[in-house]
């Protein structure tokens, strides 16, 4: 059954006094994993998922429920899922009020994406190219007594949204990622590089491994350093990890309820307040070049920051932080109205830019008198979400900078930091480049971040890994 037909059938089941939203996701996924110069896992999966959201007006408010079915879809199954959602909405605990569901129709995203569909019995053609490049990299690594580890994947998703209000939208996204780590023969020196490959682009596997080689060569000299406060240069990947956590905390509801530091303590928000003296702008834009993502709201089940009633509403370029000033928070129409701020829903990419002239990571390092270059972060966790205190570790590459030169690799550290404190202590901003956070988040692979110089970064203790 065609996805659009399934969505249409589900939406048409709405009876008088009801509305029904149907969301169909079709995905394909291929991946390869390797460890110590050998392939350890691979996989291919194709899925079809129908989510039906039913909305009913009942005596004491609006009842709504979402039922999701991932599996085979035929007309009988679609009607069963829709009937189950409608029945659940009648039983659901009602909310007092809800905004009206949007109408409208169109095609969005990148339906022209040229990513190859996998034939039933073979991996996509590009997969053979990836395998060949990877095999060559492993052969070279064997010769140099280096061990390669990593993961590559390619995903494509087409989402169709239909509603009984007449809403009909489709969006297609495709993205690939390559995450690669290399270890020297002594197991001490290590390096990591992550790349997102938007749309139908090809992974530069040889280039990634050349980069890893360069870092391993840099790590030939090692020094031990104690915990303490250091001026640090954070790679774009590290900045992506930190900004991803910041973005997740930027909720209107959490701000107004005091669960995050973006509230004013009196039920309002701190929108309009300066967060950092640096001219940093954090934004999301569904049309961002090379980072394009769903251009309308897709909410399969309600959460405190996403409402099913907002499904289909257009997403527009949104500045979360504008020249250092908090300018928007993620929320639903209801939450935004309640807080008296504009409706700015979640968008699936994140871009951080500075006002400084274009400068590379190497140029920022060259202007650092003494500090640490941190290339990737790991196991970040909230310690106190109300103050955005986090802990985490450096991993696979920390380097001592002296007089503008990287002079040695050093040990890993555990850090404890305030994300807002880090923003306040930014001293230099480099050129924004596409990057990938080390901690993967399936909902977010589209990042463009600059390297940042931050003073007095708190390294709490030494980690002896690896």
């Amino acid at each position: 059954m065609e996805s659009q037909r399934a969505a249409a059938i589900a939406a048409e089941t709405a009876a008088s006094g009801e509305d029904v939203i149907a969301i169909v996701d079709d995905t394909t996924h291929h991946y390869l994993r390797w460890s110590a110069n050998e392939v350890t896992a691979n996989g291919a999966a194709s899925t079809r998922t129908l989510t039906v959201i039913a909305v009913n007006s009942v005596d004491d408010g609006i009842g709504n429920a979402a039922i999701t079915h991932r599996g085979h879809l035929d007309e009988n199954t679609v009607r069963k899922v829709a009937d189950a959602a409608r029945a659940a909405a009648l039983r659901a605990a009602p909310v007092a009020s809800a905004p009206s569901l949007p109408g409208g129709h169109g095609t969005a995203g990148r339906p022209d994406i040229a990513m190859e569909e996998a034939p039933a019995d073979a991996p996509p053609a590009y997969w053979n190219d990836l395998a060949a490049d990877l095999g060559a990299a492993m052969t070279r690594a064997d010769r140099r007594q280096r061990l390669l580890y990593g993961y590559a994947e390619r995903q494509r998703r087409t989402t169709t949204v239909n509603a009984s209000t007449g809403l009909h939208l489709t969006s297609t996204q495709a993205v690939g990622t390559v995450e690669a780590a290399a270890y020297g023969a002594d197991g001490k020196a290590s390096a990591w590089h992550g790349t997102a490959i938007p749309d139908s682009g090809e992974a530069d596997v040889p280039g990634i491994h050349d980069e890893l080689d360069r870092w391993l060569h840099t790590a030939n000299r090692r020094v031990s350093l104690p915990p303490g406060r250091y001026d640090v240069v954070l790679s774009p990947s590290c900045v992506a990890d930190l900004m991803a956590r910041l973005y997740r905390a930027m909720s209107v509801t959490e701000a107004t309820t005091g669960a995050s530091p973006f509230g004013d303590g009196e039920g309002g928000t701190r929108i309009g307040e300066r967060l950092t003296p640096a001219s940093l702008t954090l934004l999301s834009d569904p049309a961002a070049r090379g980072l394009s993502c769903d251009p309308f709201v897709i909410t399969r089940s309600p959460t405190p920051t996403a409402s099913v009633f907002d499904n289909g509403l257009p997403l527009r370029r949104t500045r979360w932080i504008s020249d250092g000033v908090l300018s928007a928070l993620v929320g639903t129409r209801t939450a935004a109205e309640s807080a008296g701020c504009p409706f700015t829903p979640w968008i699936g990419n994140l871009v951080l830019t500075g006002a400084a002239p274009d400068r590379s990571l190497d140029e920022i390092v060259a202007e650092t008198r003494r500090g640490l270059l941190v290339t990737s972060l790991w196991y970040l966790r909230d310690v106190d979400p109300r103050r955005l205190l986090i802990t985490g570790l450096t991993r696979d590459g920390v380097y001592l900078i002296e007089d503008g030169e990287i002079v040695a690799a050093t040990n890993d550290f555990r850090f404890n930091e305030s994300l807002l404190g880090v923003l306040r202590r930014v001293t230099d901003v480099g050129t924004t480049v596409p990057t990938l956070p080390r901690e993967p988040d399936n909902a977010m692979t589209r990042f463009a971040m600059p390297p940042l110089a931050v003073r007095d970064f708190t390294m709490s203790s030494v980690s002896e890994a690896p």
Partner: protein, 500 residues
Amino acid sequence: MHDSIDPVFLAHQPQSIAETGLAHASKRGARHASVRLEQTRHAETILLDGVLAGEGDTTELGLSVQVRPNGGATGFAATTEISPGAVTSAVDHAIAMATASSRIGGDYGEPADEPIYRDEVWLSDYRVNPFTIAADERARFLTKWSDALLKHDDVASVHAKLVAVQETKFYADLAGTTTTQQRVRVHPRVTITGRRADGSAETVSTLGPPTGRGWEYLLGDGWDWEAEIAELPGHLSDKLRATELADGCYDLVADPSHLWLTIHETIGHATELDRALGHEMSYAGATFTAPHDIGTLRFGSPLLNVIAERTSAHGLATVGFDDQGVAAQRWPLIEDGVLTGFQTDRDTAVALGAARSTGCAFAGSALHPPLSRLPNVSVLPGEDDVTTRHLIGDVRDGVYVVGPSSWSIDMRRSNFQFTADRCYRIRNGRLTHQLRDVAYQWNTTDLWRSLAALGGERSYQTFGADLCGKGRPVQIAAASHGSPPALFRNVPMRTIDGTR
């Protein structure tokens, strides 16, 4: 047992589908092949201040195949289509993935042997399937708790959540094993927030763990929810008056409601053989342990005895058979403080020279390949009838921690930092008051070697994790961890404020 295998799942004729897939794999020359059909239903209800703020009910049904052609890598393919044509196509796709992977190169040894189990059926130990309870009834429980909590002056907001899961799976392999299994778990959790006059806030949460029980758990079977909900506002009021702890080394008494997460991170993941072999080096990380450490590595003090198992009633990792057709087992990981075992699947067991896998293969869904995941890993109680009160009574200057909060550990499972839901100051053998923002930050073997006393059998309790991530693509698994309360000496502790 009051339930049977979900007839909706059985209507998909898993046996017939699997036979078709295995016959095709055999025809294509597979040396090893398995077919798994799995249906997972996951329902979640979230209330904010008693008002429904999130609800979802997802059923995922799919099939997957793992095929190993003669002398090559294993290939995996999955689909949400359930039909003879879909399973045949998946076999072809898995063989193609295996062939492409084999071209890259590698050493593909034989998996460890396992007896054949034919037509085995296993259900977990629950009385009332939570999905026989209507969604509004499930939400009503949370509403009742929320309304009661909001009546207290110090309670500014209430976040209440209930998760219910049912997994039904069929497994068949070319050797002849066929198993059909079903298990459920539930996890209610309530967090309340209060504010100080300066606007700063604190939260406390219920400690009731996720468990492999049914709806009876909400009614008091295995946990006294009514009592815990009633006590929660008092804990919050005390926490709002909590003071800071001067950085330094203190004796630490860890309640089982807290210690489970430390066990999970520092012992559970540290004794996974796939980590020791480097399979998670680029993502979830490795471990400081190695196969040659068996029998020699002093992991902890002689008081430390740790068991792994997938057999205990209500355990989150408890199964009849794992996702490679291996029967559930129980085995020691640490005896008298010395490392004596690892967790293995059929592929990693051979690296230990073991005749048999310990049965830790688990796939997070039909769409994921099985990989080595945590069994239930638990610290055995001490021999004496020691209680938490006795342990606290033995401490002159220390901290008592209850419930988990934040956690983070390095990629060798060594340097860690844990915080607790509630921390209490211990002075001269007595609890004095709550502390705020306390973290203990140390290394795994330093902590377990500092273990000075354990509670006895009667103080033993089981908690657990239902959102443990590992692998790429990331998979989620659940595991239980039991322990008595434990006393550690001279643990480095600090107040976390982002400046040190």
